[in-house]
């Protein structure tokens, strides 16, 4: 498992997990990453697998660069959802940390 150097800025940034699931096709990562980059959202980590033609990607991103509300960012992802016909779900990373880290 990768380990980041934990700087203070890293600890206090607003991190979110974006999960992308659905039938595999060409250019999914590129399309999602481009949209995030257009919103100035930095990708911190990615893991991705394909199981039986089913694409699953988990992405940790830093929302602080975006200057948009959580809801606005989520809405901005809607065209990507429609275009790729994928389920794209975004939620704050805190919930995973709370549940699995003491």
């Amino acid at each position: 498992m990768k380990r980041f150097q934990l700087s203070e800025a890293f600890l206090f940034m607003t991190k979110a997990l974006i999960s992308v699931t659905g039938l595999d096709s060409t250019g999914i990562i590129a399309r999602v990453a481009t949209r995030l980059s257009e919103m100035n959202i930095n990708i911190l980590d990615i893991t991705q697998t394909i199981l039986g033609g089913y694409f699953t990607m988990l992405m940790v991103v830093d929302l602080d660069g975006a200057h948009l509300s959580f809801e606005e960012i989520d809405n901005e992802l809607q065209p990507v959802r429609d275009e790729l016909k994928m389920t794209i779900h975004m939620q704050r990373m805190d919930i995973f940390d709370a549940m699995h880290r003491i």
Binding site: R3, L44, D94, I95, H100
Partner: protein
């Protein structure tokens, strides 16, 4: 940083196993709204609730969206109204209901009286108004504390509550006695409970506080599926681990709500609260342990293990634990309990013994409409005695189904669910209930 297994586990809990935060409940002190003029008192209450709780619902919704965890209810609990109402409590009830609708909460609790030792004039006025209030308001919930370990059982209040429950049922007969679903009779009521119908903001509470109730019986059930056939040591450990994870999310939501609303964090209530949905049942945790139905011999032991393991797992996950904390066993709100009653596996007497080890008491149980007020009072007295002697909170939320008999069905809708009417012991107790007075506090109340 990404541990795929952990992230997928959390997502599965929420999406497939019905994990949710049952409620964010904002406790609001209303003592400063008291006024000899009932109308002016009502106006002050309306103004204060609308001011303090104006951001509650949308803050809850924002947290829901951002963290990806459903927060099923947003609620308000207020100071027991009998402490504020210097005259007629009806205008206050109307103001509370209006304020709850205005700020958009699902329920408002606190139309309550604490009379475990005796009744004030205001308590009496409030009690007399309960049937009318519960049949004419929509969002208001009422509770009455009739006993405590320190004070004993107020048998006058117990007698009156039998009559009030009957009256409330008959006034709301067209909705299967829905009014009684909003009325709970307590022993050892707690001051920071976020769950309805019994939530109120106790007199030891701060000006306002955020109390959060978690849920997630489905998550526990699924976790236990992976340890089938293992001994109880493993069962208990699995429940503890799961309860820890559930409660951590409750703590996160409570802290976040507290920060955003700038209202102090009160407690997390470590509860397993079922809903009538399949896969969200406490009874099914018991059946997963190896019982054919909830109610089969062994049920009380299974529930005792569950209730204790939930607390042990949850306590370390939150810095302030409170409320009722444990496993709820309502009948109409739990598909497994409904099945057990329908199959004849679960009786009122077995439910009573289960309340010795669950988090609260007899909850959401439909009884025949012709059950007498004394019989209901007797059920309340028994339940209060269990609470008083065992130093725990117990309660009765029982619904006489007007015009229906054992085996018929009642339908409340939504989270309140539906239930078969359960038979009640038909033997008499009139002379017992007519005595009134107080059952003295037990010897173990003398702890100083």
């Amino acid at each position: 940083m990404i541990n795929t297994g952990e992230i997928l586990q959390t997502m599965r809990m929420i999406q497939e196993e019905n994990f949710d935060i049952r409620t964010i409940t904002l406790g609001i002190n209303l003592l400063d709204c008291s006024d000899p003029n009932p109308q002016r008192c009502a106006e002050r209450i309306y103004e204060k609730i609308c001011r303090v709780a104006q951001n509650l619902v949308h803050t809850g919704e924002d947290i829901e969206t951002e963290f990806g965890i459903p927060i099923v209810n947003k609620r308000i609990s207020v100071t027991p109204v009998s402490m504020i109402a210097q005259g007629d409590p009806l205008p206050i009830a109307i103001a509370l209901d209006r304020a709850a609708a205005e700020v958009g909460v699902n329920f408002l609790g606190g139309y309550s009286a604490l009379m475990h030792k005796g009744a004030t004039d205001a308590d009496e006025r409030l009690l007399a108004s309960i049937p009318e209030v519960l049949s004419t308001t929509n969002l208001l919930c009422s509770s009455v504390n009739v006993a405590s370990t320190r004070a004993g059982i107020n048998m006058n209040a117990v007698r009156e509550m039998g009559l009030i429950i009957k009256e409330t049922a008959s006034r709301t007969a067209d909705s299967d006695g829905l009014g009684c679903a909003k009325l709970v009779v307590f022993a050892n009521a707690v001051e920071d409970n976020p769950f309805m119908a019994g939530a109120f903001c106790g007199i030891g509470e701060p000006e306002c506080a955020i109390n959060v109730g978690v849920s997630g019986p489905g998550v526990v059930k699924v976790a236990l599926e992976s340890v089938r056939g293992e001994p109880f040591d493993v069962v208990a450990e699995t429940i503890k681990r799961t309860a820890f994870k559930i409660t951590r999310v409750g703590q996160l939501v409570a802290k976040e709500a507290s920060r955003r609303l700038n209202i102090p964090f009160g407690i997390v209530d470590l509860s397993l609260a079922p809903t009538p949905a399949r896969g969200d049942s406490v009874a099914h945790i018991l059946t997963e342990m190896g019982l054919e139905y909830a109610g089969a011999p062994g049920t009380t032991a299974a529930l005792a293990l569950l209730n204790d393991a939930v607390k042990k797992g949850g306590i370390m996950a939150s810095n302030h634990v409170g409320g009722l904390s444990g496993a709820f066993i309502p009948v109409s709100e739990d598909i497994g309990m409904i099945e057990a009653v329908s199959a004849g596996a679960l009786t009122l007497e077995k439910l009573e013994s289960m309340t010795c080890v669950c988090s609260v008491g007899l909850d959401m149980i439909a009884i025949p409409g012709d059950t007498s007020a004394e019989t209901i009072s007797g059920i309340i007295a028994d339940e209060a005695a269990i609470g008083m002697i065992n130093n725990k909170t117990t309660a009765v939320r029982i619904i006489p189904a007007v015009g229906k008999k054992a085996g018929d069905r009642v339908e409340f809708g939504g989270l309140l669910g539906h239930a078969p009417v359960i038979p009640v012991n038909p033997f008499g107790n009139r002379s017992f209930i007519e005595r009134g007075g107080r059952i003295p506090a037990p010897v173990h109340s003398m702890r100083n």
